[in-house]
């Protein structure tokens, strides 16, 4: 059995007075195995964010099921959703989402404190993660005192400290410069090598090229997928770029045949 099974997801947004219905997701099916590193790519408006919100249990699909490690999302009560997210999922956001009133250390502790863990245990969990992510020296600082890359690594630490079944990352490199991006991607790959399952939504080819598999979403459906196999990052990067060109070519400039490139 796969860790994450997404079957027949459909999401329709309706305006309040029954006006036009917008179909954000048509029919999404895929699975993620334990220990996998999956990137989901797609243009703006392709339904990436909607899909991520559903996977994060922030939103409910109109049709279809999401099952994480045997737990069906539709069975989770609204009131338990926050606790479920806290216990099973880790999040990394484009805008870091660190609280400015907490030091880096306290920001990382937040989910554990909410879960009622004692300080000693939290501290023991934090130390190895902090040294792996290279933020051990920054723990006492406040978010405004550190760089964007450091903030994002703190956010990753916060996501990892709960030992989530799956780490969901939403454009994690979107607000970073190229050096910080490389550093973060290296760290994510490293965590993945250590056994952490990662699902990342991005439109950055470079970010996606670090994943083991890339899903392409278009018009609310999984349109295509690529496996890295034995390819290197650079090679995989090239493959992804080619695929994207084909995909975009089909939709925006139908007059030029994809094969001709």
């Amino acid at each position: 059995m796969s860790l994450l099974e997404v079957t027949g997801i459909k999401k329709i947004y309706k305006t309040r007075f029954g006006g036009q219905a917008v179909e954000a997701l048509k029919n999404v099916n895929f699975t993620v195995e334990k220990g996998e590193y999956v990137a989901i790519m797609g243009e703006s408006g392709s339904g990436k964010t909607t899909l991520l919100n559903i996977l994060a249990a922030l939103d409910k699909p109109t049709e279809g099921t999401v099952i994480l490690d045997g737990m069906n999302f539709s069975k989770i009560k609204e009131s338990d959703a926050a606790t479920f997210r806290r216990d099973n999922l880790g999040f990394v956001f484009q805008e870091f989402n660190l609280l400015d009133t907490f030091s880096i250390e306290d920001n990382i502790y937040l989910p554990l404190v909410l879960a009622g863990k004692n300080y000693k245990e939290m501290h023991e969990r934090l130390m190895p993660i902090a040294s792996r992510l290279g933020i051990a020296d920054l723990l006492k600082k406040y978010p405004y005192e550190v760089s964007g890359g450091q903030k994002q690594r703190a956010a990753v630490a916060r996501a990892l400290i709960t030992k989530p079944r799956i780490l969901l990352a939403d454009e994690p490199t979107g607000a970073l410069d190229s050096k910080a991006t490389d550093e973060l991607l290296r760290l994510l790959s490293q965590e993945n090598a250590g056994g952490q399952t990662i699902l990342m939504v991005t439109h950055s080819v470079r970010a996606a090229s670090h994943a083991g598999r890339v899903l392409f979403i278009k018009d609310g459906e999984v349109f295509h997928q690529l496996y890295r196999g034995e390819a290197s990052n650079d090679r995989f990067y090239q493959t992804i770029t080619d695929t994207l060109t084909v995909l975009q070519g089909n939709s925006t400039t139908p007059s030029i045949p994809a094969r001709a490139v």
Binding site: A82, T83, D106, G116, Y142
Partner: protein
Amino acid sequence: MKKLFYPRLAFDGIRKNGRLYFPYILTCVCMIAMFYIMQYIASPECLEYLPVGKTMIPIFMATGSIVMVVFSILFLFYTNSFISRRRTKEFGLYNVLGMNKRNLARVIVWETLITAAISVAAGLFTGIVLSKFAELGLVRMFDGRITFDIKILPGPMIVTSAVYLCIFAALLVNSVIKVGTNNAINLMKSEAAGEKAPKANWLLGLLGVAVLVTAYVIAIANSTYAVAAIGAFMVAVILVIAATYMIFIAGSVLFCKILQRSKNYYYKPDHFVSVSSMTFRMKRNGAGLASICIISTMVLVMLSSSSSLWFGCEESLAAQFPREMRASVHFDDIMQVNNKIFDLFDEAVAKSVGKYGGSKNVIASKYIYTPVYLEGSVADAGYDRSVISYTSKKIRDLYVIPTEYFNSQTGENLVLSDSEALIVTDNCTYKENELTVKLEEKTLRLSVKAVKKDRDVKVRTGANDGMGRLTVVMNDPFTAFAGIADTVKSEEEQNTGVYSYRLPVTYSIDFDFGNAPESGSEAFNDMMVEVENSFYSMLGNSIRAMNGGEIVNVSFSMRSGSDSNDEMRYMYGGIFFLGIMLSLVFMLAAVLIIYYKQITEGYEDSKRFEIMQNVGMTKKEIKKAINSQLLTVFFAPLALAGLHLCFAFPIIRAILVSFELYNLGLFTVTTIASFVLFAIFYVVVYKSTSKAYYSIVSG
């Protein structure tokens, strides 16, 4: 470019930022209205309806006006800087879009013009409408002539407009300079700046606590003696203000930091978020909270003391003058008493009021007075005044009154044997079975038949001065005390040649006229003057005649309750009136600070809410954390104001005694009532401003 571009931009700016501008303009309106009312009441056109007090009221209103101006300047600068800080970003955007500093200044000029025009116009209008109510209230307080026409006085209007237009001009200059010294990037950034983590300032925090304790100790230590109390009160007030600021700015952050140090306390779901954001909130709002606290304390002190002065003044006047007239004759010492003079006094009173139907409802009293040092059952009238202060806790005012006067005053039928006494206590208790009055070596020992409280049996003696008072009712005290005094006198004259004891004796009657014009009318006042004059000349002549022109050591007086203390009534009435008006303004200011505080926090928290939710906090958890710290932050100023008031209570009480307010129970009641009323008001403000907060946070 369109002609009305700048005015329109300014107008839109105000309208779009209505949440900030509306309360600001409202405050300006209220301040202007209040200022106009003060000017109006001080004007001769308004004062003509008052029977007297035409000198006192303008002085109070002038004082009030000055307070208003100073307060307006401070407060409007505070709120204005708050608004402009929020708007700098907008100006930064205009700047980036190509408006230069001159253009921005033009927008600001138009904004100020619009705000000033609306404020002054609406303020004067409100002032004119409300001035009638204020006038009616004042006239009612002083039983003046009530009229119902609304007057619009140009004088106060011009003064009010001039004063506030000057303030607006100053505000304008200030904002223009601020925009002028900033560049575009700074303008855009200014709102995000200042997010640094608060540092615990041990020195300032501990100093604040130390200063507060010092102030409290000073206040308590100087609360027995009215003269010392006034000076000490000023010192204590300044210290308390300083301490309040230090405690809210540094002490509160320090406190949160100490909480954060305790890992087991801090890393708990209930404390984690609230303590950490409270640290930031305190740092940012410390000064505002301290201001709220001080304003609250000010309002509480003002309301409680001015209202107790006013209500107490009516009451103490009523106690002092239970009848229309009071006539009295007074001997400095019992050895000087000449019983013939009492007869002459009665005769003079009877003759001078004969024209007006004689006297009725007469309360007659004759008593001996002396302060005593009370130790157990021994009341020493000869205690050393140079060693023991009049404010000592063991000093009592001792009055001795014959049984027949007690019976005639109270309507009771008390029968005492010659060795018995009834004791009436006021402001103190008496629990002994006997009482020994001592003068040097001579003593008078009485067994106590009963002890009663003054509020149950009103005995007519001297004016209450706030001291503990024992009134001894006994048979023929004058013979007994004259005997003692006589022995002491002969001994003293033998030893030192001078008799120094003073056991003054007073004979007084309070009465109404049998047939007098309506009380308070002009004819009544004329009658009073006529009766007084005839009494003085008649008694003076007969005493002189009696003694063959030799000077007699006796004083006599006749006063009416209605006119002799009018100045006092007007003074306290004026203070009370001013107290209410200033309290209203200060409360309004407190509301506005609270409102702006809520709004600022709303904007900050809305972002934080979102993050917390993303990180896995439930809505319930977030609401709980936010609520607990919102409540703490909000009610901390009220709690500290309450504490200030508790410690100020004894010293204010002492000061009120020097203003001839002796009814201390009344002050307790007004203090508690003021606090309860203010707390209710505070909660209402909290509830309504919380709405603004939640609408921002959830929107």
